[in-house]
Symmetry: C2
Subunit: 349 residues, 2 copies
Amino acid sequence: MLQSTTVNRQITLASRPEGAPHQDNFKLLDGPLPTIGAGEILLRTVYLSLDPYMRGRMSAVKSYAEPVGLGEVMVGGTVTQVVASNHDGFQPGDWVLSYSGWQDYSVSDGSGLIKLDPESAPLSYALGILGMPGFTAYMGLLDIGQPKAGETVVVAAATGPVGATVAQIAKLKGCRVVGIAGGEDKCQFAVRKLGLDACINHKDEDFSAQLEKSCPRGIDVYFENVGGKVFEAVLPLLNTGARIPVCGLISQYNATSLPVGEDKLPLLMRHILTKRLTVKGFIIFDDYGHRYDEFARDMSQWLASGKIHYREQLIDGLEQAPQSLIGMLEGKNFGKVVIRVGDETPALG
Amino acid sequence: MLQSTTVNRQITLASRPEGAPHQDNFKLLDGPLPTIGAGEILLRTVYLSLDPYMRGRMSAVKSYAEPVGLGEVMVGGTVTQVVASNHDGFQPGDWVLSYSGWQDYSVSDGSGLIKLDPESAPLSYALGILGMPGFTAYMGLLDIGQPKAGETVVVAAATGPVGATVAQIAKLKGCRVVGIAGGEDKCQFAVRKLGLDACINHKDEDFSAQLEKSCPRGIDVYFENVGGKVFEAVLPLLNTGARIPVCGLISQYNATSLPVGEDKLPLLMRHILTKRLTVKGFIIFDDYGHRYDEFARDMSQWLASGKIHYREQLIDGLEQAPQSLIGMLEGKNFGKVVIRVGDETPALG
């Protein structure tokens, strides 16, 4: 469905999921275009980022941010274009990075907006390799992971926007890099296109044995994106002094209760103690916002010189967002998922 | 039994414990005095340190150090006096800190020995407040815990040699300090003698509720010595950005298997992610050996000015070591346990 100049489509949270989200948890509404007051800007959404953290916002429990309220528009990072402006700092036609959420149009007073230069990089990159996921990969790996040349770095979700970036930066730093991904096609991509030393399919029955074989000198850095059985396979392979940046736990997000069986918390603590592990969670802009320029400089250079490969999965249509998020939580995406809500040069309906 | 000039009593590891150690796991042997060759020194043990890590050495599994072999003398830090010397650097009568283990006499080539000045502090302090436990408390709290004035620091095993030191340093840094200990007497000591703001008896049925009430602004630093239910009570109270130095897990050392029930590992990881926790294990001399002087300077000043209180539990007789270690693992000690193997000024038998 084409973007309209008179209708504002919005996807709201209709109900909170129990376990995996369903289409029914979302509601697509048609509303009027918002109007702007003094000092305000009307933004048209072109690209909407889908990210695993959104599952957390759908629950009533506060994690690191407040949940989305029932009936409220789903949140999300967006690349938007200024349509109308009562703000001196923004002109119609300007491109900005905003947090407008799952809707065609939004109103801003300008705070928190970051202007984008459409000449310097594809606009959607601001939601991925040059934005939150890329920054997360960069700081998590370099500041918490502290990889040294010759060390072994294991990256979960190795073809996702964070994992693929972590893996390639680790290669640039001279590490042996072993990826973990869900599928043969993803693993082949990780080795052939991203240049990883090995990539293991966590759906293989002998996944743990393969991982051990691929890490003959143990694991020095494990970049945690997934949790669950992948983490349990990594744990015994960690070397003394290993570092674990904890960036995400996608395998847990849909869980409604703790698994039952052996309680492995004491096992983890024993590994932390006897191997002197560092396990550290982080939220990129809260912890590292002041170092964004450092990242942007390095990453722009790496992209320009072809040292970092970036894969995007562009999906057309705001109405595809719910199913795309549901699929991402099941590992069905391949690369950074971006919803194209409208055209960069709109053929308005 | 008095120390002899002709017999070397040694306590060896007779068998490996399943679960809690028993007297049968140890064997007291009488042997001849060792003789020294060129460049060697004969040392007489006066004080033997007992520490929780010794339980780990009794198991066949390598933790951070090699296990004690069956039939070998139990390891341990000791304050010893030079009896005879073929080494230019050591004279009979010199006091040295050594790692001579559970025996009356030992031979050294001088490597790793640290000379002690009997005038500067009680000799046994080198095994406690001025030695490994004090150094562990100092670096674990200050380097990993990074306490800031006004923050809440929770310390497990708050009257043990490490915990009591952590707690008092945290008070010196202007923190609210809440201890956890196993017994009313220990808790009273922690508040009245050590100056803690509160101390909770983990044997109380409403322990978790008491802890929560004592930490109205949450927990910023949790110094982990014990693991188990204490850690589980702390976990939900941790603030965003909290730090957890992992120094020991005494409640787990005698475990023969993982507990069964809910697997709380995913819960811990979720806390680490959403609260941006830092959880870090450390082994004091491996990680911080190069910063010993800094510690020794600060701690000597604090002791001299009465800012740090130190409680020792001196137990007479090498033959008491097995039962004392067994009791320590059950939390029966009160303060730093030191076995007086011989007199400082020997009345030799």
